[in-house]
């Protein structure tokens, strides 16, 4: 894919001065809000296809990566996520059962990072030995939802790894 010269870097006036805990700059760009009627239609489409999702907030200023790594203030492209995880001191949590509130779930589509969600709760499903994991994530520009970690839009792919910034684990 072609690189857009300068987009998201320090010369982009829509970018925030954002860095990892080790000081590496995180390219980003703030998006505008969708018009209310456009947002309502977007939410309607999400809820129509994912009835169990719970709408938490309606904003399009940030994407899922901006929600997880930038305090809901800006958009971050997925190709920067490996750097953020590495420079931000995240460690992989190998077992779903060990995932805790506040950890993150990384999704991939066709081998590439496509989505991220923040874990709200993780309880065992005693009927099948799997995890009942409730997560929170921003769906494109269509608002933020609480949902089961497997119940996501097709374009997000599937959950592949869990990470935590917890220290001493």
């Amino acid at each position: 894919m072609a690189v857009i010269i300068g987009l998201g870097n320090e010369t982009d006036n829509t970018a925030l001065a954002l860095a990892t805990s080790k000081g590496a700059r995180i390219p980003n760009s703030r998006r505008g809000e969708l018009a209310p009627e456009q947002m309502r239609e977007a939410v309607r489409i999400v809820m129509q296809n994912h009835a169990k999702c719970i709408l938490r907030s309606m904003s399009s200023v940030y994407n899922c990566f901006g929600m997880a790594f930038a305090g809901r203030r800006t958009c971050i492209e997925p190709e920067h996520v490996p750097m953020i995880l590495q420079e931000g001191g995240y460690v992989e949590v190998a077992q779903p059962a060990a995932v805790m509130t506040g950890d993150i779930v990384i999704y991939e589509y066709d081998g590439e990072i496509s989505h991220v969600a923040v874990v709200i709760s993780n309880t065992p499903d005693l009927t099948n030995g799997r995890s009942n994991m409730l997560v929170m994530s921003q769906w494109g520009s269509h608002g933020e939802y609480l949902h089961d970690y497997r119940d996501v839009h097709l374009s997000f792919g599937r959950p592949v790894r869990f990470y935590s910034e917890r220290r001493g684990i």
């Binding site: 969708l34 456009q38 190709e79 989505h115 997000f156």
Partner: protein, 237 residues
């Protein structure tokens, strides 16, 4: 579906909502290219009249007044049209449409796509579309600033249209060549933002200053003499 129905659907909130589910640029373009309406439009765009209608619609949508509090509601539609045009139309048509779309306000996906298409058009010599309104070279290019950074900064400002008209007759391709040469040779005087290019493959020497006409041989010689000795030595080396 008729062309009108397809275009109405592409400009609807429904289409925008479906493609705006993307978390990033790559996903957006994948969803866009995979959308049935875009496929149908691309199929129809094999006809020249349809391509002309799509290009015309890009210009119309780009010029619409929008509520500046919010994102441009035609952002996704403009991106869809540019995508179809870039796949089906001649480079000059794509460049013209992309340039129109780049002026649309408060777009998110379209601004990146149109920048790419315009840049590609310039880089490949398809600069027939008017692009003199915002061409200039940043002053920093003439100092000892970091070349790569200066060029990036210049492009960003140029694309964003934040710099006033100063170029005159210099084309985008010439600017690009000058920027590349400046980057490679650092053969630029310090005093102002005059760009002095070494002889081209055709043996032509070009000196250019934003806002001025092309320099005469005498003026060029004078400007070249102003280049610090060590800079010229470095360039020769």
């Amino acid at each position: 579906m008729t062309l009108t129905e397809i275009m109405q659907s592409i400009e609807s909130y429904g289409f925008s909502s479906e493609v705006n589910m993307a978390s990033g640029t790559k996903a957006f373009r994948r969803i866009l290219r995979g959308h049935e309406l875009v496929h149908r439009l691309a199929e129809l765009a094999k006809q020249a009249s349809v391509r002309a209608a799509v290009a015309q619609r890009v210009e119309e949508l780009s010029a619409l007044q929008i509520d500046k509090q919010y994102e441009n509601r035609f952002d996704s539609a403009l991106s869809a049209y540019l995508t179809v045009l870039s796949d089906t139309s001649a480079p000059d048509v794509v460049a013209k449409a992309a340039q129109a779309a780049a002026k649309a306000e408060n777009t998110w996906w379209t601004v990146g796509l149109s920048r790419e298409l315009v840049t590609r058009a310039i880089a490949t010599g398809w600069s027939a579309a008017r692009m003199s309104h915002a061409h200039t070279i940043p002053v920093r290019l003439a100092s000892n600033a970091d070349w790569q950074e200066s060029i990036q900064s210049g492009f960003v400002k140029w694309m964003a249209g934040t710099i006033p008209v100063t170029v005159g007759t210099v084309t985008g391709a010439q600017i690009l060549r000058a920027l590349r040469t400046a980057e490679e040779k650092a053969q630029v005087p310090k005093k102002n933002n005059l760009i002095v290019m070494p002889p081209s493959e055709e043996g032509e020497t070009l000196a250019w200053k934003p806002g001025r006409r092309r320099l005469s041989r005498h003026e060029y010689a004078k400007a070249a003499a102003a280049v610090p000795q060590r800079t010229r030595q470095a360039a020769r080396a």
